[in-house]
Every structure is written in C-alpha cells, then in structure tokens.
C-alpha cells in the first residue's frame, strides 16, 4: 500500500475513536460528578433526612406498581400485536408508541385533559370515588402513561423474533395457544421482555414533568425522588446530590440485572 493509501485508510478509524471518546466523556462525566462533588459521608447523612427517605420509598412503591400494571396489561397486548395482523394495525401501533415522543410536559397536559378533574373522564372518575390528582394513584397513572410504550415496543419486537414454528409445535403437542404463550413464548422472549421492562422501569423512576403537573408535589404522597431532587436544588444541594446518586445506583443495578438475564438466557439460544 502506498503512503497516500495508508493515510487515507487511517483517518476513518481515528474519527471513530474520537467520536467514541467524546460520547463516553459526555455521558459519564455528569454521573461521575454526582459522586465526586460531595463526600460519601455527607451523601449518606443527607439520605437519613426523613423527607429523602419518604421520597425513596414513594418512588419505589409507585414505580413497582406502575411496572406491575405495565407488565400485566402490556405483555398480552404486545403478543397480540406481534402475532396477529388486522386492519388498522399500523395505526394502533403508532398510537401506543405516541407517549414515547411526547415531551413529559405535554404528557402531563394530556393526562390532565383526559383524566384530570376537569378532563374528559374527570367527572366519571370522581363519581367512582377515585382520587387521581394530588394523590399517589395519580403518580402511578403518570408513570404508567410515560413508561408503557417503552415496554410494549420491546415486547412486540421480542415476540416477533420468536420462531413461529415453536408455537405451532406447542399446539401440535396438545397445548392451547394460552398455555403455549405461558410455557413457550414468554420464556423464549424473556431477554427482550426483560430489556423492555428495564427501559420502562428507568423511565418511570426518572419521570418528573408529567408527575408534577398531574399529581403535584407533596412529601410522602406525590413527591417522588426526581421531584424531591428539584425541591432541594436551591436549599440543600448535597441532599439533591445524594438522591441523584441513589437513582444512578438503582438504574445501574437494573441495567446490570437485565444484562445478566440476557446473558444467561442467550446461553440457551440455539446457534
């Protein structure tokens, strides 16, 4: 190869490495800064503050409830979309994916317009004795709304990727479609489902705008960790850092466990 050829060949790999370096720095610096900006002792102290503990517990409860609803309702829905075709299917899929591209503030407005006190279903909800606005249930509604498309989309892809002959085989072996769904489709699609659940979980944990607008901010009732961080921004920056650190740690744990599930499951996949 001529010298000119060598130079021409080298600039592209260099560019690639450069881009990666920039991306890596940009993405890791803020995370690192959270842990470096304050001492571990101060961080742990601020976590002991009851308001912070309330926020953590509330975030945990609401996110778990929301995820439970998403998995229970979203899994069969995604399965239907993955295995059947019908008129208007593309439209249905787009509608389900819509909250994905909706900015959180718009999501908050949308929820208010739909199920807020003055919303379309507001009267019916109030008549049923359910309180959503300014209540914990409202937080769950907001989280479910913004996080479900993340799961449903991934679940759809995961089910679509399952070899259709596996379900056929299950049926020829005497199991109805429902049993085949539980004994074959879900286990085989599990890595994809887990990845979707992790995305939804992460999104729900971090939800701020829609929660604030729809459910308000009150300690122990609606002030989730992101809202608590915002509240402490001007008065107790250390506390805000500490809570952020916890969120980062939890998110990392979720990501890691998903990778483990995928890795283990991929050990089962046929070559």
């Amino acid at each position: 190869m001529t010298p000119a050829g060598l130079t021409r060949a080298a600039w592209f790999p260099t560019l690639l490495v450069l881009c990666l370096a920039v991306a890596l720095t940009f993405l890791t610096l803020p995370v690192v800064a959270i842990f470096v900006d304050s001492s571990p002792g101060q961080l742990i102290d601020s976590l002991g503050d009851p308001g912070a503990l309330d926020a953590l517990w509330l975030s945990l409860r609401t996110t778990a409830t929301s995820l439970g609803i998403i998995l229970l309702v979203g899994t069969p829905a995604a399965y239907l979309l993955a295995t059947r075709s019908f008129r208007g299917k593309a439209l249905v899929v787009t509608l389900i994916e819509l909250p994905l591209v909706l900015p959180p503030a718009a999501a908050g407005i949308a929820l208010l317009a739909a199920v807020g006190p003055s919303g379309i279903l507001g009267g019916a909800i109030e008549a049923a004795g359910i309180e959503l606005s300014l209540a914990t249930a409202g937080v769950v509604v907001a989280l479910t709304f913004v996080a479900s498309p993340f799961y449903v989309r991934q679940a759809m892809a995961a089910f679509t990727a399952v070899d259709r002959s596996l379900l056929d085989a299950s049926r020829t072996l005497g199991m109805s479609e429902a049993i085949g769904f539980l004994r074959v489709m879900i286990p085989v699609a599990l890595p994809g489902l887990a990845a979707g659940a992790a995305l939804a979980l992460g999104r729900a944990l971090g939800e701020f705008g829609a929660t604030l607008m729809f459910a308000g901010s009150f300690r122990g009732i609606t002030q989730t960790v992101p809202l608590a961080i915002y509240d402490r921004l001007s008065t107790d920056f250390d506390s805000a850092l500490a809570l952020s650190a916890v969120l980062v740690a939890v998110s990392a744990a979720i990501l890691l466990s998903v990778k483990l599930v995928r890795g283990e499951a991929l050990g089962l996949a046929p070559r």
């Binding site: 056929d168 049926r171 109805s176 089962l268 996949a269």
Partner: protein, 353 residues
C-alpha cells in the same frame, strides 16, 4: 387411518389433493419446493385452514369445512416433526420430549428418558438443544412427536436439514421407527430417494396436485410423465416418435441420434432411462450385446459415490450414467474421453411430452 381431502388457493398455487393412509403405512409425498407439500401437512395438523377440506383420523372428523367442523391443533392427536425441528430452546432434551406429557415431574422425566433411550440419547437427556448436534436434535424432535402417542404422524422434510453423512444413519433409524409405529404416517420431502426409502407408497406432487401415486418401483418403472421421470432420477431426453418395425417405437432425438423403445407412442415425446441402466463402451468399438440404443458422448465429469462412479456425459443432449468404479478405471474414463452410451430398448420409457 388418515384421510385428507383439500382444495385451497395459496397465492399462485391451487392445492387439490385427496389421499388415504392406512394404519401402519407411511405415505411419502415427494415434489419440488413450492409444490404445496408442507401446506398439506399443515392442513392435516390444523395449522392451516383450507377453503375446502376434510380430514378424518381413526374415524374422528378433525376438519370438515362443509359442516363447519375445525378442531384446533391441540385437540388433534398428531405427532408433527418440523423441518427445522422447532425444539424449545429454553428446555432440555427430556423437557422437550416431556412437554406434551401430563403428570408429576418424576413420571414425566421417566417417560421422556425412556423415549430418548430408544433413540440412543438417554445420556443427553439434560442437554439444551443448542448443545446437541443436528442428528441428535432430529432424534429428539421425533421422540417428542411420539411422546404424545399420536394417532397420526406428520413429518416435514425430516432429513433435509442433516448433512449427507448423518442422513444415511438417520434415514435407517427413522425407517425403523415408522415401520414399528401403528399410526398412519404422512411424510413430505423434496428428495425422491428419501421418499423411496421411507415410504411404503410414494406420491409425486407438482403444483399442488398428486400426479402419480404408487410404490417407488412402480413410479420408477412406469413414470406417467416427463416430470415424474425426471423427479425420480431418470435421464430425460426429448424427441419425436414414430411406430417402428416389430412393434417397437423409434424416437428421433432432438439434436441428433435415434433410440428405440418397447413402449408405444407417437409424436412429441420424452424418453427416460435410469443412469444405472446405461452401460459405457469405448467410442470406437464395435457394438456387442443386445442393447439397441447407442449414443455417442463425451465425458464431462466423474463423481465417485461409494463404489459407483456417476458420469456426466455431453451428447446431443446431456446424459447421466452410473457404472462401477472398477469399470470406470478399466475403461480409463476421465473428462474429455469419447465414449458410447448404450442401453436396452426394454429399459426405455416413452411418455407424451
């Protein structure tokens, strides 16, 4: 007994089939890809609902479009072996086999391992499918299909995913299983030799229809069309036939040469003969023996298959001949050598083209 009647349009293909398989019999359907063979199996299994059809197994009606009966696959006692086996990747071999079996774990496992033993796979019972070889997976798939004690066996190209070496052993084993089984078996394949080996009867399928049904030797000896002849592995030559002296038929081959046949025919025809019925003589020798048909050709290729040599010959039309390896060596056959291919008029089949 299994009876399948169906008419169904699949894109460009019009499936129109009627067949009956006796208990203990294996009917092998052979045909090119896209002929509709797999669709037929799926209709029998309930995985495909045809526009018109009836499927009866052991006196029980599984499908009758006229009367609105359509049992879902899980209610039909079929054992279906899929072309790529469709083994559940998240379950071990014994768990796959035990899938259709109800009961407590110890009994299910015992039953599954027992079946695997029949296939010599008992030690691999706990292995996951992706750690098994192709041949082992094929056997697990068959064992799984049998686990349900099915009334009907349906096999979709059960050997085609195997490499040539494993295929021979697997074919013998599968043949044994089919002979032992009392259930009627319907098998589809694109390989006539496989169909001949495994099927008690063979049906040739073309464009959704069974064009000829009979034992493998009947089909080879008396193909009803050029398609069947070609599919069963014969050499097919085209030409024009006229009646000749002594009741034989003379065929002027396209491109040159004349052959004689004991079949009666006239007009545009296809002439077929099997490669192993063609003898090879050196080009310049005087004819000897009773073989009337002689064609000059040049050797293009020699392929060794066991103790046989398969010769690709270029004459006015292409020919394939099979001789013993010893003969090939004795005649000094290699690419470029000119030879005479000869065979008997009585071994020559003629059908309207």
């Amino acid at each position: 007994m299994l009876r399948v009647e169906t008419r169904h349009r699949l894109g460009d293909l019009e499936l129109d089939v009627e067949l009956t398989v006796e208990p203990g019999e294996c009917l092998a359907l052979a045909g090119p890809s896209g002929a509709g063979k797999t669709s037929l199996l799926r209709v029998a299994a309930g995985l495909l609902r045809p526009e018109h059809g009836r499927v009866e197994a052991d006196g029980e009606t599984w499908l009758d479009t006229a009367r609105g009966i359509d049992l879902p696959p899980e209610r039909r006692r079929c054992g279906y072996v899929f072309q790529h086996y469709a083994l559940f990747p998240h379950l071990s071999a014994w768990q796959n086999v035990a899938y259709p079996v109800r009961g407590l774990k110890p009994e299910r496992r015992a039953r599954a391992v027992g079946l695997l033993e029949r296939f010599g796979l008992a030690e691999r019972a706990d292995a996951r499918p992706h750690t098994l070889s192709g041949g082992e997976r094929q056997r697990v798939a068959v064992a799984r299909a049998l686990a349900r004690e099915p009334e009907v066996l349906l096999l979709d190209e059960p050997l085609s995913a195997l490499d040539a070496r494993t295929r021979a052993a697997a074919a013998r084993e599968l043949g044994g299983v089919l002979r032992e089984s009392e259930a009627p078996a319907l098998l589809v394949t694109h390989d006539f030799a496989e169909a001949a080996q495994l099927g008690d009867r063979v049906g040739i399928v073309d464009h959704g229809r069974i064009v000829q049904l009979g034992t493998a030797s009947e089909l080879a000896a008396a193909p009803r069309s050029a398609f069947v002849a070609d599919f069963t592995g014969a050499v097919v030559l085209t030409g024009v036939a006229r009646p000749g002296p002594h009741g034989v038929t003379r065929v002027e081959l396209d491109g040159g040469g004349t052959v004689t046949s004991t079949d009666a025919a006239e007009g545009a025809v296809a002439v077929s003969v099997y490669p192993w019925e063609i003898a090879i003589e050196p080009a310049d020798e005087e004819p000897h023996g009773s073989a009337e048909n002689r064609l000059e050709a040049e050797v293009l290729s020699i392929t060794v298959v066991g103790s046989r040599a398969r010769l690709g010959l270029a004459g006015p039309q292409p020919l394939v001949a099979e001789v013993t390896l010893a003969s090939a060596e004795r005649l000094g056959l290699e690419a470029g050598v000119r030879v005479t291919a000869t065979w008997k008029a009585a071994a020559t089949r003629v059908v309207a083209a």
